[in-house]
Symmetry: C2
Subunit: 252 residues, 2 copies
């Protein structure tokens, strides 16, 4: 049976999309059938693969609004074991509409359920807020990965976010677990980064993955070439870290 993992954080710019894309491709490199679902109106997942929102036959808006079957929205991007469902929000009206349709908090859970037999991993890229789309993601998920940057605002927002996850889990999805807190954009040269990473380990203990994703220019460059970093430069420190993370999650 496949596993649905939400990649979520209220804080913006901490590496949610980067983690969904690159952890996803790492699973596919280990021959796990993987689906990436973009719940974020920004639509960065399709952009990573140079797919314009206008070229998408059907996306997350059509699924929530017109009940288009998920199978019509799955895009094969030519990588083995790796498919995506894009977010095709064109403007602010689409965005407000999507958040409104998502008031049915169990919608995504019911849509994805049958696909747990088709995929080994389904990764959900969540938007940077606690709105109805992220709630749909957390309610559909078996577990959640929380990317955190070792900086003041991201650290502050983690405590509150963990509390919200517990609230949502208790009310709507009691089986959901925390897969882990993932330190991203880690710069070991900065004293502040090292201090915050130690603080995270002290406060959240085993919830924090030992694997840290280093800040690595190749990770930020890869999407400009339409690729996940592992296919752009397999020896890049960021690519290796995501492969190690995938290996760890598969082994759990």
């Amino acid at each position: 049976m496949g596993k649905i993992i939400a990649i979520a954080s209220q804080k913006g710019g901490v590496g949610k999309t980067t983690t969904a894309i690159n952890l996803g491709v790492s699973f596919s490199i280990f021959n796990k059938r993987t689906l990436i679902v973009d719940l974020d109106p920004q639509g960065s997942v399709a952009e990573t693969f140079q797919i314009s929102p206008y070229d998408i036959p059907a996306g997350i808006l059509d699924i929530f609004k017109d009940k288009v079957p998920l199978s019509e929205a799955i895009i094969d991007i030519g990588l083995g074991n790796y498919e995506i469902v894009a977010s095709n929000i064109k403007d602010e009206e689409d965005e407000v509409a999507l958040y409104t349709y998502a008031f049915n908090l169990k919608m995504l859970k019911n849509i994805l359920k049958p696909y747990k037999k088709v995929y080994d991993y389904i990764l959900l890229d969540c938007p940077p807020n606690l709105g109805t789309l992220t709630m749909n993601g957390l309610i559909a998920a078996d577990s959640v990965i929380i990317p955190v940057q070792c900086e003041f605002y991201a650290l502050k927002s983690l405590g509150k976010f963990l509390q919200s996850i517990r609230n949502i889990s208790k009310k709507h999805n009691p089986k959901m677990r925390i897969e882990g807190i993932l330190i991203t954009l880690f710069d070991k040269r900065l004293k502040k980064s090292r201090e915050i990473a130690d603080e995270l380990k002290r406060s959240f203990k085993n919830l924090v993955f030992d694997i840290k994703i280093p800040r690595n220019a190749k990770v930020a460059e890869a999407p400009a070439y339409g690729k996940p970093v592992a296919l752009y430069d397999i020896n890049a420190p960021g690519a290796i870290a995501y492969l190690e993370l995938a290996e760890k999650i598969i082994s759990l």
Copy 2:
């Protein structure tokens, strides 16, 4: 008459809060009476000054929900010419409630109007999305500053965001102008950063501020000490850049 400037971007983690806080304090250093309004449920503005959401007498939720007068939510944090209105969202239920009350898109505009006589600058820190809170901010604003990081996803999201700003302005706030596109977290050592900065200048010409905010560790450290960077280390490159930006905007 005071000026209301929204600091907005759909992309997360590009320096919206950092710009609101530090451009704000720079205005106050030039003796301009400044108010920072936090429209983001994350509540990073109050956190910067070590104010807990539980200690806030009234915040943005009370203003939208219970029509509490703005004057009751203004907090004097002990810096001359510089006050804040905090976002006091405690959990995901508050967040969904706030976005729903904000369906009245002209609410903030009507609340802030009388305060243009009290302050020289009112800065609005927007959340990383195009939901009803950001729309309230763009409709209340005289102008908007769009922070952009020189990286692929932030660049891609800029075009769409500018289009949405034009749509919102045409329908709801025709006088709103673009104050400027602000390059933030700029690392001049990275070739990719320099390339993207050049591309921004080529595509958006005079819309892009000449002043770039450099990536500067002191900027990220300052909030941990409860201060804007100018009060943490006035000689820090980040502090100087925000002072230059304030000077430029005041002179326009």
